[in-house]
């Protein structure tokens, strides 16, 4: 019980400092970066990009092979 009260008091104290904190510091996604989770996003985005590029290359090659066939 005692610890719960102490905890909530602490929470209120921390929360009350937040508005002041936000004024002098612009919030950026630093937490995400410090956790390293941003790399997950990068991995996903890079995979999507790479997938699309590989598909584009395969289309390009297909067109090339049709061009070759037509020349014969």
């Amino acid at each position: 019980m005692q610890t719960k009260k102490l905890f909530s008091l602490l929470l209120v104290m921390i929360l009350s400092t937040l508005p002041g904190f936000a004024q002098d510091q612009i919030e950026m996604a630093d937490l995400m970066r410090s956790n390293g989770k941003i790399y997950v996003v990068v991995a996903v985005a890079a995979t999507v990009m790479l997938g699309l590029i590989i598909y584009l290359i395969s289309i390009d090659r297909k067109v090339s092979s049709i061009e070759k066939k037509l020349k014969k």
Partner: protein
């Protein structure tokens, strides 16, 4: 695969964009926060669109001097790809606007100008498709696209600077370049512009080759 080198450059630059675009350092700014990274994905769409429209303009003028059908085809396909990029620019801009300005669409000169540009080029395609004769079509489309390019410049470059726009660098707002440490943004922004443009050129190139195949099949 033909002309592999510039396609390789395209792939490298795009991979650089999607990794460094998220990991690179950006200036901390109120309201924008991390969404400043949209500079590499939204603003680059418009830059790539304008470069492709310059390709269209160049080929249109070239066609008027020397009416070769291929020149007209390049002009058409480049503006088609430019429109795809423009539509992506509008859609991504709407998402960004919702979270920074609070609405999907605000009555802003830049936004309306961009929409106006899309309509001007939509008319270009309608005009093209309404003319049967190839030579006539090429000539009229070329003349119209010179006009369309001028309208684009007025709509998205001149008017937004004269009126009040929420966009950076317009209507008294500071541009991104005026923020300190902007070189961090440029480091990804310029490669991103080249990368997206090359992707557009690549897709355009495939479409042009398919057209050639189609024609040789018909004949």
């Amino acid at each position: 695969m033909k002309n592999i080198w510039w396609k390789a450059v395209c792939i490298i630059l795009l991979m650089y964009t999607v990794t460094m675009g998220f990991l690179g350092d950006v200036p901390a700014m109120a309201i924008l926060n991390e969404s400043i990274r949209n500079l590499y994905f939204h603003v680059t769409m418009w830059f790539a669109m304008m470069i492709l429209l310059m390709v269209n303009l160049y080929n249109s003028i070239k066609y008027l001097g020397d009416p070769v059908l291929r020149t007209d085809e390049i002009a058409e396909e480049s503006s088609r790809m430019a429109m795809v990029l423009g539509i992506l620019g509008l859609l991504t801009g709407m998402v960004w606007a919702k979270y920074t300005w609070g609405a999907w669409w605000v009555n802003d000169v830049q936004l309306n100008g961009a929409a106006g540009t899309m309509l001007v080029y939509a008319a270009y395609f309608i005009l093209r498709n309404s003319i049967e004769d190839e030579q006539k079509r090429g000539r009229i489309a070329a003349v119209y696209s010179i006009f369309a390019f001028a309208m684009m410049i007025v709509f998205i470059i001149i008017l937004p600077r004269m009126g009040d726009s929420l966009h950076p660098g317009k209507g008294g707002n500071p541009g991104f370049s005026s923020y300190d440490l902007d070189h961090r943004l440029r480091l990804v922004f310029y490669p991103a512009v080249i990368g997206w443009t090359l992707l557009g050129v690549w897709i355009m190139n495939i479409r042009l080759r398919i057209r050639t195949i189609n024609k040789s099949l018909e004949s």
